[in-house]
């Protein structure tokens, strides 16, 4: 097998691995929410059943742009997953956090294109909220990344992960505590959990972008969220939680991040969109700015 074929095989494995891991997290997250709400909840494999069921249903599409947008969204997020190191392993060699942030946006833009083409105002409002919220969390996130770039003169996620391989004390959560708080707040918005689940908000905009997705499109919607979870939890683990040397440690750490998110999600209500963005800028932004200034002067 030549090198290109091997790389393609590995990338395919990452794509399916990311989807599977994300779906597993979604299933476990539903159990976590249920237990907090004193319910039993569905089995952990329910998300897999949901996706399989969606893919066996008849799908309704409005036009070609909708098809293209949804595929573009999934493609963009899978491409992002290729650049996120998993257990100190990166197939492409490069794992620049700048590329990760850039490619992540393609996912949202694809979704925006797809659901806007559906013509449903609820979907359009939902996606416009998602893009507005992106402004809220990307700015603090980028400030924290800048602090790390200042320290390491590199934007490589693998470099950050390897720098934390000298024991528990070398984790960036201790080196950049304010940055970690900022990113944790931003992370809540990135994965669209409360108090920042404005994009879905069932009582307000009838589930937003999901309202026009049926059958396979809804299945792709689930997969989008699954890959998003893989990418974003992987990002946090590599940035702050010491990366991981084995795949199971990586999975445990990624789930720990998601578990925290689900616990916060279970006890919070939803902000209004402008309140959410203000909250992100004021709190996540302040912590991130302090971290950046501290790193620039004393780091």
């Amino acid at each position: 097998m030549n090198a290109h074929a091997l790389t393609a095989l590995k990338l395919t494995g990452i794509a399916f691995g990311a989807m599977s891991l994300g779906l597993l997290f979604m299933g476990l997250g539903r159990i976590v929410s249920a237990r907090i709400q004193r319910r039993i909840g569905p089995p952990f494999y329910q998300s897999f059943i949901d996706v399989i069921k969606c893919f066996t249903k008849t799908s309704i599409t409005h036009n070609f742009v909708m098809d293209l947008g949804i595929i573009m969204a999934l493609g963009g997020l899978i491409a992002t997953a290729f650049f996120v190191p998993f257990a100190n392993f990166s197939v492409l060699g490069s794992s620049s956090v700048v590329i990760v942030l850039y490619l992540m946006s393609i996912g949202y833009l694809g979704m925006a294109m797809g659901v806007s083409a559906s013509g449903n105002p609820n979907a359009t409002i939902g996606i416009s909220r998602a893009l507005a919220l992106m402004l809220g969390y990307k700015i603090p996130f980028v400030m924290v990344i800048m602090a790390m770039i200042l320290t390491y003169n590199s934007s490589d996620l693998l470099t950050y992960a390897l720098a934390q391989n000298h024991g528990f004390g070398s984790w960036h959560i201790f080196k950049y505590p304010l940055g970690f708080i900022a990113v944790e707040i931003a992370f809540q918005a990135m994965v669209g959990e409360k108090p920042y689940d404005h994009m879905i908000a069932p009582a307000e905009i009838a589930s937003g972008p999901m309202v026009e997705l049926s059958g396979k499109y809804l299945g792709i919607g689930f997969l989008l969220h699954a890959v998003q979870l893989y990418v974003e939890t992987g990002l946090i683990v590599n940035l702050f939680l010491g990366g991981a040397q084995t795949w199971y440690i990586m999975m445990v750490k990624m789930f720990a991040v998601y578990f925290t998110t689900m616990c916060i999600n279970a006890v919070m209500a939803r902000y209004r969109i402008e309140q959410g963005i203000r909250h992100l800028w004021i709190w996540a932004g302040s912590f991130a700015l302090l971290q950046l200034v501290y790193t620039r002067i004393w780091g």
Binding site: I125, A203, E204, I205, A206, A269, R270, Y271, R272, Q275
Partner: protein, 383 residues
């Protein structure tokens, strides 16, 4: 036409590429809508410019249907006027019928009716508070409240044989007496609900996100509330000490102490807190009613209900429901069926009239929360 600053008038929109006015159907098929009702919102972006209440989608026609049913048959129909709080309808209707008949029901029946009304109030408040939480996306509180509501429904089942529509009150009293040991279970449930309040406070009322969302939303002054016909917790939330149980006591409310607590802010937060205060008071009232529950008959013998003829006459009876004043105006021509029945529901003022003022200029974010804060129950609009 009212337009916020910065927007053009409707005629100019076609000349202005910056703003597109569109209709958004908020219900009847919308997760934020409470039942067979909707608002057609004229929107620019996410801001509401104009509201058209879209009622008339519940095709049951309660009032007309009641004219074609026997007096007793109507008792199975009227709880549907308010699903979460059905018993006030039964009691108001029965009281009106009894007033026309000129009968006074036994004291035990009055106490049992009051207990049932307070239980129904508790169940409805749990659904209402859970509804506000759900509209804000705070599903944990909603689920926890539904657990406790189910315990109330268990007691209803033991008492009446039904969980949601109890069909328990009849002209002359109630269908059956309280079963052995039932009041002990009720008091144990009251203890549990009292213990739950601090948890709900922490989860919902003291939650900073909830306070940020509700504060200042849908403010209504006391004078405006009274002028528009707002009643119940929404009126008390404006600082007006009005309660049918105190102002014109019915059932056993004249026999026991009924407290009144006012949150008094006038906005959605005040309305939510008012429900919580009323909930606490309802638990106290149940304890007082159980402690003073007299013996004796639980119903008056008015003969075969299937052959009941109510003498010609009319009467208006009103009760304090969890959402406000429920009134039944009943007219009899001496036959086996009512000649006319008219229902006064508490949802009409906010659901049909205040929405024009309050929703205009509001963002789509707040419509469901605003509705939940007024506990708008569409069937009593579409009756």
């Amino acid at each position: 036409m009212y337009l916020p600053d910065g927007y053009t008038t409707l005629e100019k929109i076609s000349e202005n590429d910056d703003h597109i006015l569109y209709d958004l159907f908020f219900g009847p098929n919308h997760p934020g809508m409470h039942g067979n009702f909707g608002y057609v919102l004229d929107m620019v972006g996410t801001e509401i410019l104009k509201v058209r209440p879209n009622a008339g989608q519940l095709h049951r026609g309660f009032e007309k249907a009641m004219e074609n049913k026997l007096w007793a048959q109507n008792i199975s129909l009227i709880p549907r006027v308010c699903v979460p709080d059905p018993d006030p309808n039964e009691v108001a209707y029965c009281q009106a019928v009894e007033a026309i008949m000129g009968v006074d029901i036994p004291m035990r029946a009055k106490y049992i009716r009051s207990i049932v009304l307070e239980m129904s109030r508790l169940g409805s408040f749990l659904m209402g508070m859970g509804g506000v939480a759900g509209a804000l996306g705070h599903y944990t509180t909603m689920y926890l409240m539904m657990i406790d509501r189910d315990l109330i429904l268990d007691l209803f089942e033991a008492l009446t044989g039904a969980r949601v529509y109890h069909i328990y009150n009849i002209p002359g009293g109630v269908r059956r007496d309280i079963p052995e040991g039932w009041t002990d279970k009720l008091l144990a449930l009251c203890d549990r609900l009292d213990q739950k309040l601090p948890e709900w406070d922490r989860l919902l009322y003291e939650n900073p996100v909830v306070q940020d969302r509700l504060k200042g939303l849908g403010y209504i002054s006391a004078s405006e509330a009274m002028a528009s016909g707002i009643t119940g917790p929404s009126l008390r939330a404006c600082g007006v000490a009005a309660d049918v149980r105190i102002d014109t006591p019915y059932a056993a409310y004249g026999e026991i102490e009924v407290g009144i607590n006012l949150s008094g802010g006038g906005d959605a937060l005040a309305r939510a807190v008012q429900v919580r205060l009323d909930f606490e008071e309802a638990v106290r009232i149940i304890r007082r009613l159980v402690a003073a529950l007299p013996g004796g008959d639980f119903k008056l013998d008015v003969g075969n209900l299937a052959k009941l003829r109510v003498p010609a006459g009319d009467a208006y009876s009103k009760v304090e429901s969890s959402k406000g004043e429920f009134g039944y105006y009943v007219v009899s021509n001496g036959g086996l069926k009512p000649y006319r029945v008219s229902v006064r529901g508490p949802s009409m003022p906010a659901g049909m009239y205040l929405c024009h003022k309050h929703l205009r200029g509001m963002k789509i974010d707040d419509v469901a929360v605003w509705m939940a804060s007024f506990a708008i129950c569409p069937p009593d609009i579409d009756r």
